[in-house]
């Protein structure tokens, strides 16, 4: 699951995608796997220096009942491929409006992310303990790790196939005890390095979870995933994320990503 997280994060946050170099496929030399995953990681999570998007999430359970979530997500990178900050401000459902998640993502091996939570109805700021990031993101089929990204260091990567359109990379967790998957495959677009599809396999070797990028648009020259779908084959549940109002390089202030701003959301987060 871990490597996938990175990619999921890519998708979820791919709002911030970078512009891929589109070399000629015929003559293009196939890069080595580290290069591929690095590029994909950057495309998925580190487009531009900062970014913003409004996300509508629809969770559909196997009975066809739906639940909606809507939030605005702000991102600022400290270093490409390195630490970054996320600010997630909830708009819907109405009774969780103004709820905030703040994440300081640390990519250094031994440093856990810092996570905060603000609950307006209890007027409570709470830190979320480091540890397992493979828990559900607000009840959806996306996991926390899908949103903030999984460190490349946590998996070993292998390019198992190169098709006309994709590099297919198999990712095997280095510490299999902490994740629920045995491995996952990522289909990375050869043109722009956007991870277009991720497939997770369980310890029985069967596919149980997929994430797909269902729409990619060029926004401010950055190829950006504007629609992503997770399917949990075990529960029969699906979550669709739609990104709108995507903006890059808006010059977000560092201050925004601090505890002080949990109770007083910045203007950028509200609209």
């Amino acid at each position: 699951m871990k490597p996938i997280h990175i990619f999921i994060a890519l998708i979820a946050l791919s709002v911030f995608l970078f512009a891929a170099d589109s070399g000629n496929k015929e003559t293009e030399k196939i890069p080595n796997v580290d290069e591929i995953v690095n590029k994909a990681n950057l495309v998925a999570y580190y487009q531009a220096n900062d970014g913003k998007a409004k996300v509508s999430m629809t969770i559909t359970d196997k009975k066809g009942q739906t639940r909606e979530r809507e939030f605005i997500i702000l991102r600022k990178d400290l270093a490409d491929g390195g630490d970054q900050h996320y600010y997630v401000y909830f708009l819907k459902p109405a009774d969780v409006r103004k709820m905030v998640y703040l994440v300081h993502k640390h990519t250094a091996q031994d440093k856990d992310d810092d996570r905060w939570l603000y609950l307006p109805a209890l007027d409570l700021v709470k830190r979320i303990a480091a540890g397992d990031k493979r828990t559900s993101f607000v009840g959806s089929d996306f996991l926390y790790e899908d949103v903030s990204g999984r460190s490349l260091e946590e998996d070993s990567h292998e390019l198992i196939e190169t098709t006309e359109n994709f590099f297919i990379v198999k990712n095997v967790p280095k510490d299999p005890d902490n994740v629920e998957f045995t491995y996952y495959n990522v289909f990375i677009d050869r043109n722009n390095f956007i991870p277009m599809k991720m497939q997770y396999y369980d310890n029985q070797g069967s596919l149980y979870r997929t994430i797909e990028a269902q729409g990619v648009e060029l926004i401010q020259k950055f190829p950006t995933v504007v629609k992503a779908l997770v399917t949990d084959l075990k529960t029969g549940s699906k979550t669709e994320m739609q990104f709108s109002d995507v903006k890059y390089d808006i010059g977000l202030d560092d201050e925004i990503f601090t505890e002080r701003y949990l109770r007083r959301p910045p203007r950028e987060a509200i609209r």
Binding site: Q65, R97, P120, D132, T135, V138
Partner: protein, 946 residues
Amino acid sequence: MGLKQKITDFSLIHYKLITLLMLVFTLALAAFIPLIKVDTDPENMLAESEPVRVFHNQTKQKFALSDIVVVGIVNDKDPHGVFNTSSLAKIYELTEFAKNLRWTDEKNPDKQIGVVEVDLLTPSTVDHIGQGGPGEIKFEWLMQKPPADQDAALQIRDKALSNPLLKGTVVSEDGKAICLYLPLTSKDLSHRVYKELQKKIATFTGDEKYHITGLPVAEDTFGYEMFIQMAVSAPLAMLTIFVLMLIFFRKLILVISPMLVALVSVISTMGLLIGLGYHVHIMSSMIPIFLMPIAVVDSIHILSEFFDLYTKEKGRKKTITQVMDSLFIPMLYTSLTSAAGFASLALTPIPPVQLFGVFVAIGIMLAWLCTVTFIPAYTMFLKESSLANFGLAAVHEEKQTWLTKLLHTGGLFTFNQAKPILTVLLIVLAIAVYGISRVEINDNPVKWFAKNHPIRRADIELNKHFGGTYMVYLVLDDAQEKTISYKYINELRNRLLNKTIELKEQFPLPSDSILELENKIPELSESAKTKEELLTALAAFAEEKITTAEDRDIDAWYELVDFCELEKEGLKIFKHPDVLRYISRLQNHLQKSGLVGKSSSVADVVKKVHQELIDGKPRSYIIPDSSAAVAQCLLQFQSSHNPDDLWHLVTVDYNSANIWLQLTSGDNKDMEKVVNAVEVFVKTNPPPVPIKYNWAGLTFINTVWQDKMVAGMLQAFLGSFLIVFIMMAVLFRSPLWGIVCMIPLTITIVVIYGIIGLIGKDYDMPVAVLSALTLGMAVDFAIHFLQRAKTAYPQTASWKSAAADMFGEPARAISRNVLVIAIGFLPLLAAPLVPYKTVGIFLCAIMALSGVVTLLALPSILKLAEKRLFKPALQPQTPACNCGFCLIISIAAVLLIAINIHQYAVVGWSKLALFSIIAIPVMALICGIMSRRQKCKMLETQVKEP
């Protein structure tokens, strides 16, 4: 020549044809048996359309609930119970094994069936929500991997105990044992999963004990073992009967014939049942065991009489003709009454019981037909020489049998001590009636297993440690008015006004802009059908304003959209703090009453998350004060590994909630107490908003079909009692004789159920069904006895000499029957299933009691009422001419109809009583007119003249 003579003669002449016909008939029906379709689900005791089942299935759908197999692991040797590295490692391994107990559905190859992995409730598949560092909340797997050392093992225990959702459920209250809850895609996989788990457990070594139980396992396994029993017990009983008959009649070749009758009737009945496309349900699997004793009874009468009358000189043909002549009528009537007893079950509102009753009745009549045709035919196959040394006459010469001696003495005793005998019987009857008043109606499918059965042991052991292995769901539904009232509009406007005032302090908003929304309320409420529609329309209006409003107003309009959306969320009552507190109070009330071992609800989830969000202290284990706070707590819960667990307790729209109750007892009486406790609580503590509640869960369903069964059985029983009485009155052409005939049966039944009450055995499903058998069989001996007495009396016109005859051959036939059936079914006591034991004991008791009562009470009554009963017979008179007779029969018939109508139509007893009061005089009038007909007068004069 009467019909009986014709049948007997035909059978004797065309004995080969009769045998061939019977053989072909049986084989033809037997050919269907391989097509058997088995249905072991006790839920099918109720029709699929039964409201409680419909609701149960809706609830399962609505809250994604599955039937659950419960696996408990106990370690009595370790001071920390199972909380040591070795036990937890095995528990982990077992869980991993259980996770993968899935198979491809044979009916639908795309579908997987088995354990529902995502809903597993086990230490390694649930989350721990707790405190991380200071001011931190932490979500983690409770036991992601087996612990490496003892400290880690104890930590797992402490974490689990700190979570009210897990304590008493996954971890025992004493912190020593663990339970795994394995939900199944379908409960008919329980036995398969049970077997697989047992195989896996067999590979473990160590001090742990593993217990597997739960109603689905019990019910499915019961069905499975039931069919094994059908194949073991029935033949075993047959063998015993065979041996006993051999002892009595000494001729193997002759003793085979009743066995053949039993086989033919059992095989053809089952073949017919299966051939007609019915599933063989738990009930119908008992058909053979019920049919067998009834099928052999008549043949035993024949054999007994044949044995007693046979002499070499007379020869087999003449003897059998004589035997059939005296037994034909009693056999017809005993078969008819037995069949009526079972057929009356067709009137119960329980489909499998109806099927059972009808087919046993069919089987009985088949057995009768077979007895009256095949048994005479069979004797024709016997060579006279093979009957050498056969018969009482032959034996007699050697020595008087002990039975003959005993019966002779008994006959004298009843003649001399008639009054004391009846007095004693009356006293016994009185005690028995007291016993009946103490009968407790109760059932529990787990208790259908003998006490030493692993499932029963698991049930006892696990319910000692945990909140309970019996699941019930108390479903609460929003019962608020959905449509818009003036009151609601006023309240909404007031709230909006308050919001406006609040906003004015916050933003420089012109008040007329806000009034616009408020003024929209009456207008929009015209077109909106529900509150939700109104609020949606308002929100849309406000949303529209965001795009058109002046810049300085935009923030306020955002707030107003939010206001509307919040109002909409407010309609979802199971987010309301006061509703959740009400649920908590209800749970506490049930918990305190001691009736419920454990309960879980959305209120528990909110309290637990709130506690951990605030500080993890017990004082924070409360419901927060606003719906928004509740919603935010619940959203945090959904940030766990199993966010969907929430939807087992509340629906996505928060309009329904489910309180999951675990009971340590699956006894229906305990379930009923819980139902009553909730009813009383809700009455004395009205909920803060209108809520309606309803029950689901197998434990509850069982109480519903029990109620139907008990009431249905009772009415079916009363009905068949009346039918039997009418038949007896017709048979003996006298209501008085009919009443006398019902006496042994009545005493037998009253005493049997009195004993059940006195020894405290629950009146459960098997006992209820057996009442039909009791009725049918207990009357048999009385019919034989009285019929023979009636024919014997005129010969001497003195009961004294008639009684001596009666205690000869007829009494011997009765006694032989008693012994053969009573002892023949005792092997059932060795069965591991309680209903089989019950049947064994019942048959023994029915036969013994009705035999003894018949032989004691009837002769005593006949002696005391000799004059009244044996007055000059009015033989030629037809029943229709006897006014009193006609009237009594009419009353019985009216009652019979009333009982049956009551069962089907929605007519109360008072109305029925009214109808009956009208019907009876009408019938009396008709009776009077009929008995005054010319034809009757002629008959009367005929009687008087000679």
